[in-house]
């Protein structure tokens, strides 16, 4: 992907983000605090600044003749990365719900699988070993409670 094409998309995305943030800023309660600078003073400054710079990013990209490319991952790798991101969200949800040990063991095995590990010994022994050692280390030595 051409970098400047990416910049146009990102610039437009940031402008949309600014519109959203501006809308949310109007919903923040204004409180009289003895100064004209209220709770939304700095946010408004930033929204204005981001909007101006995002516009500058888009204009710069449109005018640029630069052919630099962004090395995006290949489709197969990208799908794996997306799957890893989904796995992390699921891990976050499962961490409290089903507890550290079952959640971590499952995530470890699926994670290794996503990294193309297919040796069954590695897929079983490594997750059990590392999950157990980490659990003992945190709960016994560092006194961190894990669900």
């Amino acid at each position: 992907m051409l970098e400047r094409k990416g910049d146009i998309w990102i610039g437009c995305g940031l402008l949309a983000f600014c519109a959203f943030a501006a809308w949310r800023s109007t919903m923040v309660k204004s409180v009289s605090a003895g100064t004209s600078a209220g709770p939304t003073f700095v946010p408004w400054l930033m929204i204005a600044g981001i909007a101006i710079l995002a516009l500058a990013l888009v204009i710069r990209a449109l005018r640029s003749q630069d052919l630099s490319r962004v090395d995006l991952p290949e489709k197969a790798v990208f799908i794996k990365m997306a799957a890893l991101a989904v796995l992390m969200v699921a891990y976050a949800a499962a961490f409290m719900a089903i507890g550290y040990l079952p959640a971590t063991l499952t995530v470890f095995v699926i994670g290794l699988w996503l990294f193309d590990e297919r040796r069954w010994l590695v897929l079983t022994l490594v997750p059990v070993g590392i999950t157990g050692v980490v659990y003992l280390g945190f709960t016994e030595f560092l006194n961190v409670w894990l669900p």
Binding site: E3, G6, D7, I10, L14, A21, S25, V28, K29, V31, A33, T35, S36, A37, G38, P39, T40, F41, V42, P43, M46, I47, G49, I50, L53, A54, A56, V70, L72, P73, E74, V77, M81, L84, A85, M88, V89, A92, A93, F95, T104, V107, F108, G111, L112, L114, F115, D116, E117, V122, V126, I130, T131, V134, F138, L142, N143, V144, W145, L146
Partner: protein, 511 residues
Amino acid sequence: MCLRSPRQAALKKIRPPMEFASYLLPLFQLNVIGAIALGTLGGLIVGALPGLTATMGVALLIPLTFGMTPVMGLNMLIGIYIGGIYGGCVSAILLRTPGTPASAATVLDGYPMAARGEAGKALGMATIASTIGGLFAAVVLATLAPQLAGIALKFGAPEYFALAFFGLTIIASLSGDILKGVLSGMVGILIACVGADPISGVLRYTFGVSGFASGFAFTPALIGLFALSEVFTQMERLALDPGRAMPVTGRWPSRQDMSESKGGLIRGSLIGTIIGIIPGTGSGTASWIAYNETRRSSKQPHKFGTGYAPGIAATESANNAVCAAALIPLLALGIPGDVVTAVLMGGLMIQGLAPGPMLFQTNPDVIVGIFGGTFLATIFMFIFGMLLIPLFSRILLIPRHILAVSIVIFCFIGAFAINLNAVDLYTMVGFGVLGWGMQKFGFSQPAVCIALILGPMMESNLRRGLLQTGDDVLAFVSGPITLLFLGLAVLSLVWPLIAARIARNVTLPSE
């Protein structure tokens, strides 16, 4: 005259010899020394593996320090920092791939030495140079930081605002693309506005989620930005050939190498220390400038880039001098000297400590402990470095996919352990994906990190100052200190242009 009293008060807190010795006592306990040694060793391994940076190591292990004493926890993190920056030279020399950006210049002379069978000698020189640079900067840290903190005690709201503003302009120098760097910083400040307003307590952008009332948790955000994002990058990199490490024989550089490297060691240590004190510049810049200056002043400049030991001496002494020097603005002024010290701020916050001049008054034991810990970590770095030289090529063989999944697990436990809160896990994943995307499209993760730290400081001091002065904006540009910092802020914005000019002047030797 005003300056004298608080300054003396700050110095008095840590100067009397007996008190100084008593502050050092917590450092010389077996568990503290063990933590520093472990941190340094861990940092060395993390730094040695290409793609895993010292920043990531510190971010990942901050939560481990939660149950430790401040001296123990902070010094362990400093050990990771020092070990991590040094460790970068291992893969630079053996794989021709710098383990950290700080060691990029080491590749120029390190790899050619390894290629002609002198890998051990190159690693030995890097270890000695890193130790000399690190110890020199540690002396400067212990001498200069209290002086600077004494001056900073005089600051009011306008001065702190100017200081935070100066710190934020560092963003420009941290990013190759100024526009994207400043954009990243502004987005970071806006993200930092989530939660209760620091003056009125009004909730902003929380979307009704009670977990966001105090804003995004800083440490999970850091872990996401610097550690979790790296796992995605590793997934991409593993598809590529990781390369083959050079065999290692020998350990000590010859007398002739040492004699020829004297100038490089001195220049590297000095340049690294000065660059480290300037917020935002970092180890990478220091090592390139030191390399260029040493080559320029050498009687045999043609030897640089062909596997010449003074080249390694200059770059490695410079990048490790930055470590201790970057702690000076962090401890004395509360603004980070480089990206790793920005992350280290998270370690201070976890301990309930606010970096800045007041720390010298309220916790002189921690300050002295950090001074001493920096020395100890540098000594451990030397010991482990020299002992492990024959094993370095094996460290590079650690299965990276197992490491990557283990990092995910560590990230989750680390983010969870701070507040025992599931919202922090989602925050971390969100920042992890954001961090990967930013890295991919040339935006600056460190800029977001610094904005998350300094944004609230800038906002609260700006609004407090306006409140105190009855909305008098001129109060922010009338004092000598505010003018100094605003001037430095302008300089910081111009710095990337100067750096680009310097980089153009560095003509790289042909490979």
